[in-house]
């Protein structure tokens, strides 16, 4: 239970930050991809640099809080990963949201974000159906 409360708190911080910095605005994504305002690129690059620096500290320590060995998840490229990434990118550009920011949009009361969210659940369901017959996905 402590773990779940921990993730709830981390989620609140994440959603709050996404909303405060404007990443949950349709325009932030539309402006980034059309090149008229690159604020979101700045957010992402700062997050990467900050995350990288913090991970270096953890790598020096090699263990996490409860003494377990640090276990960094590494996603490998599958045969279709890049095609999937392009599909994701088209969805990102059209909906002006990604799986994280759509949740902040819902919290902010943007009613159409609920349909983006439902679409994402449907898309994941379609993936599960495809995966049943095409294990390489």
């Amino acid at each position: 239970m402590a773990k779940k409360v921990g993730f709830l708190i981390f989620g609140i911080i994440f959603g709050f930050a996404l909303s405060r910095v404007g990443a949950s605005e349709f325009d932030a994504i539309y402006d980034m991809f059309t090149g008229s305002d690159l604020k979101l690129v700045g957010v992402i690059i700062t997050a990467i640099v900050t995350g990288f620096a913090g991970m270096q500290l953890l790598h020096i320590k090699k263990t996490v809080r409860n003494g377990e060995k640090l276990n960094v998840s590494h996603k490998k490229l599958g045969k279709w990963s890049l095609a999937g990434a392009a599909v994701f990118g088209i969805g990102w550009g059209l909906s002006g949201a990604c799986p994280g920011t759509v949740l902040a949009q819902i919290g902010e009361g943007k009613v159409f974000a609920l349909t983006t969210f439902l679409g994402m659940v449907l898309g994941t369901y379609i993936y599960a159906l495809l995966k049943q017959h095409r294990p390489e996905l």
């Binding site: 996490v64 490229l77 990118g89």
Partner: protein
């Protein structure tokens, strides 16, 4: 004191403030939970919650615990957005989606279909790609994973193409 409150809770943050807070989540999630930052996988939990499929091996195997920590993380993000909006004093509900609402002027039913379709592409695409903006573009690149850099490059290619086609339709007078 009042100024500090206003800067954190009322004004929009500068890009670097958001970037630092979001970036810190990566080492903190490892430190406290030995877990990678990521959101899109949790949509599988919602497939189970909303559609209750019985015979899908991937769902049964990957999401044996229906209400896992991912559901709590997702709920937290919604609450975080809610708190932020309440502190800004914007209306409780809004039907606007920025320039899309302003320029497209679509009927609400078509707007529903539009964002539903966008969501399907996001859900399907992130699962085939193995992650989304947080898992690949932020967590993966912060850990210098080549796979995440390649996936992110394709995220950007797809996004640039889609948003510019949308811009031509909305602002260029075609169609």
């Amino acid at each position: 004191m009042k100024d500090i409150y206003r800067i954190i809770f009322a004004d929009p943050w500068p890009f670097w403030a958001g970037g630092i807070v979001i970036g810190l989540l990566i080492p903190l999630l490892y430190y406290f939970h030995n877990t990678a930052l990521g959101v899109s996988t949790g949509y599988g939990n919602f497939v189970k919650i909303l559609f209750r499929p019985k015979k899908l091996d991937w769902i049964n195997k990957q999401f044996s615990e229906t209400i896992s920590w991912r559901v709590y993380f997702i709920a937290g993000i919604v609450i975080g957005g809610f708190i932020s909006a309440r502190l800004s004093g914007i209306p409780l509900f809004s039907a606007e989606m920025g320039q899309f609402t302003l320029l497209a002027g679509l009927h609400p039913a078509l707007t529903v279909i539009y964002f539903l379709a966008g969501g399907v592409l996001l859900g399907l695409g992130s699962r085939i790609a193995g992650g989304c903006t947080s898992g690949h573009s932020i967590h993966g690149i912060a850990n210098l994973h080549f796979s995440s850099m390649a996936v992110t490059a394709l995220f950007l290619v797809g996004g640039i193409i889609a948003a510019n086609i949308l811009r031509i339709i909305l602002e260029g007078g075609i169609g």
